[in-house]
Symmetry: D2
Subunit: 305 residues, 4 copies
């Protein structure tokens, strides 16, 4: 399988030339556009890799799924759904217009920025520090790597330039969806986005979701089944920004992408997938990563449809 | 299983009181709000029913899936996707605003009215009559009932009042998405929406999609596998109007609803489902039908997530 | 004054090179982009001209003011304001999105297409023909030219291609703002837009508005004072599409433009102005005509501000 | 004239019962809904009053005109128009959606919040304090009252709750329209909105605009003529929020309102008007104040149309 993966990576890599690395977060601009790596973590514990799969990258929007799982465990679906919706949207992930035209002004889902900011604020904790500690410890549990942490310079870079996210936060605060201090939330959220790992670790998290929340190695239920399934459903309907429909059609794997070029996939009862390819298409998804996933889905019959 | 279905129908029926029958099409206002019936058509050929499952109703938006399958077979996915997108939308099914703000002005998907009108116009045929004949014959093949036809008075009622659909058509014509005569298209589209059948027949169509396009009785591939899967994917991401996300979460069955109160479900490799319950919630879905599907999904493990 | 006008026309004419003639109505594409002519009709009866001021052109949106005056006389302001608003808009003249997001779906003002179509339908008459007859006779009275009529080939060209206006009509019909047959209205509206005259005649109409509805030659009150003032107010706040604010700033004359390149101005108590210069800027106003008006306003102190 | 004003105030006051005081700024909720007072400051130096015209109130949006005049004097129209547009809008004064759909994301005019925030940031000064000093000294010059200052508790109340304005600021900062620190700008802007005076002083400022920037008592040109006229034009097209069109129709006076219930009017070459009536209609204008202005306009022929 490793050989096959290596071939597919070689075949997908040239697609990176049609994309470009994220430029709206200064620290991400340094990425190497032609990078492409992948890990598969089978639910039986075997893993396979291709490319420079130990290279670290920040999770960015992929972290939205982790925070969502934690908050659903913290407060239960009912309280979460009172603040964020369950519907996919045809708008861009950072759109604010819809919040104004909708009554009430509730983010459509937790995969767009407005919804993710709302979710992150809901992480339980008496302080921003406590919230952060709980989030990174939960991430450590999912990756089975206690040393997992965030990239401070990326976090700082995002913190310094996240004017649109602040705009969303204050809009949501006006409407009572966000209630706390915005700068504290921005600090927490930019750290969350800057959580750093490699493909192999990401694939391992994917495998937990693939197993409906059960850790494939320990057999422990890290995330309750219902909550893992809620997360997977969001990954299908909203995981790839406003290209989620096309992705469902062509690939059919519950997945979540980030503007760092990472993609986490969860093939039900089979495997988790971690991909890193920083050249993005115009919707913010890893362009070579998408191609690679399409090849893998066709080759291994990964689609849930 | 019939007994269980009967119990669940009895339990779901009271939810109808919280909804109301569609009022925007005069002919649909005559429906009996407390009706609720269901058929399951197993891929092994057995079927089960509860409620007045032989009562006929018009397909309305459910017909969008049938027309889509036909047009994908007629012209191939590439030509269809050139005119309609693959993305779900947070907007209402009859919204026009998004068409204006998006560049190009292409309907986001074929399950919203703008997209469905575009698809219906693409049905091959030298005349509106020929297009209609091909569509109804295809529907007959899917239901295995050559007598299937449309309800002329419902079609007329919709034709007389479908100002919003005409508005969408002319907007799309302005942008070159629709190219033919609007009144002819309206005639064809309102007939399509008025195709009439009962739950049992609808469940049978659902079973074809559940079998990836293969007829469960004859074993013939009525719809090519790839096309059946495209249709099912749309049913998951956009099948229940702008409640599709919530439905995926709570029920998890590829399904399509219509404002007549019908719902067609397709449980992969297991069964097709036909439901009729005309009392609608505010998003246009059968309110008791949704409840019934949720019960069935929980009871039988129908969710794909 | 004729000499001055001639100089200013020569100075303004080169600005036409930065614009282009309307291309969305096929018949208008034949216009000569470098044309520029002007007439001033003083309230004392004297008139002045420059350029080919006897060349005929169609009124297009300028006709909205004439129809509005007639309908206000027919039904009174209250009935008209029940169907169209009094507010300027930052949107394009043919926008439909705002109609969807506003509750109720009432056109913001009668100078955008949605509002103008609503107004034209309100012209009194038992038939489309009678409505047309009343409109053209009213126009004849304003120009003091009984032979004034419409350009049939331009009307036909617009009728054949006005898909966006039909889209607006059906949207408004859905919401009960327009109640009659859309094709009949389109026939009437495209004739109205195709009413043809030259700069001299247009200046004469402008003079009637400048005199608060009183004919400068006969002294008769062709339009009641209150209604003339309503029309002039709309000309100030919405007369130049979504460049009305800038025009008020730089020119300050109640005026109405059309995509044919015509502009009618009404300088209170002083004069009417007729301009024709078919090269348009991207907002649909005569580019050299705007420049010419700015020069005239500066030279003669025409601004009301 | 005082007697007439007193009568009109008595007649207009009951309209206050149909409105209500602003509730979105806590400190404004304490206003007495039935208050109504007016001052007229004639350009010949005479003034007339009715009601409790010495009662102080905060300027709120009325201050947008003062800041605009100062910034136009500071940087010239060209630089200002590069950052804010000249067009009225049909949207609410605190709308953000339009900023997203428009390219570039430039506020439509300086009378909506997005535009006003942009203008206030442009006040020249090396620090927020210096900017404030320049603004309040300019205001003092206009009122001829060196003691004019702001209401600290109203400013604080707005500062604490202005989440929507912060949302607008950060959105504008994302797009490079606002470039400095948002909290400093909010401090300056909320002070500006909280500048406090009475009807008599407000009428005096109105008189300066009525005189094209010339102080009616000293004869000095406090504001250059061109700039005063730009301000007056904005007052006509955008001064009364998204009721400006109706106001132009019914009253026809260049005017600016604030949610405190104040209105400043400037009748060209005749007089300035100051009104205070805190009960607002649903668009944010003083409901009895509007009625009073309509009466005054009809009685004294104040309309510019």
């Amino acid at each position: 399988m490793t050989e096959e993966l290596t071939k597919m990576v070689a075949e997908a890599r040239p697609y990176a030339e049609r994309g470009k690395v994220a430029d709206y977060i200064p620290a991400l601009q340094k990425s190497n556009a032609s990078d492409l790596s992948v890990s598969i973590f089978n639910v039986n514990g075997h893993d396979y890799h291709a490319g420079d799969y130990l290279k670290k990258f920040t999770l960015q929007s992929i972290s939205k799924v982790i925070a969502l799982a934690l908050v659903l465990m913290d407060s239960g679906p009912e309280k979460v759904f009172a603040k964020v919706g369950m519907e996919p949207t045809g708008d861009s992930f950072n759109s604010i217009a819809k919040l104004e035209t909708m009554k009430p002004s509730k983010p459509l889902n937790p995969m767009i920025n407005a919804g993710a900011l709302t979710v992150t604020e809901m992480i339980k904790g008496n302080s921003s520090t406590e919230k952060w500690t709980r989030l990174i410890e939960f991430t450590a549990k999912l990756t089975n790597d206690e040393t997992v942490t965030y990239n401070a310079s990326v976090a700082q870079s995002e913190f310094d330039t996240a004017f649109l996210n602040r705009s969303l936060c204050y809009f949501l605060k006006q409407h009572g969806i966000i209630t706390g201090d915005v700068e504290e939330l921005m600090d927490l959220y930019t750290k969350q986005c800057a959580i750093e790992m490699n493909c192999s670790e990401l694939a391992r998290i994917g495998a937990v979701f693939a197993m409906d929340g059960c850790d494939p190695l320990t057999g422990k239920q890290t995330i309750p089944k219902d909550i893992a399934r809620i997360c997977k459903t969001y990954m299908v309907t909203c995981g790839m920004y406003n290209a989620s429909g096309e992705f469902a059609m062509k690939v059919g794997i519950p997945a979540k992408s980030g503007v760092s070029g990472g993609i986490m996939g969860a093939v039900p009862n089979r495997c988790g997938i971690g991909i890193f390819g920083p050249a993005l298409d115009h919707k913010g998804n890893s362009i070579a990563g998408l191609k690679l996933l399409e090849m893998m889905s066709n080759r291994y019959g990964f689609s849930i449809f």
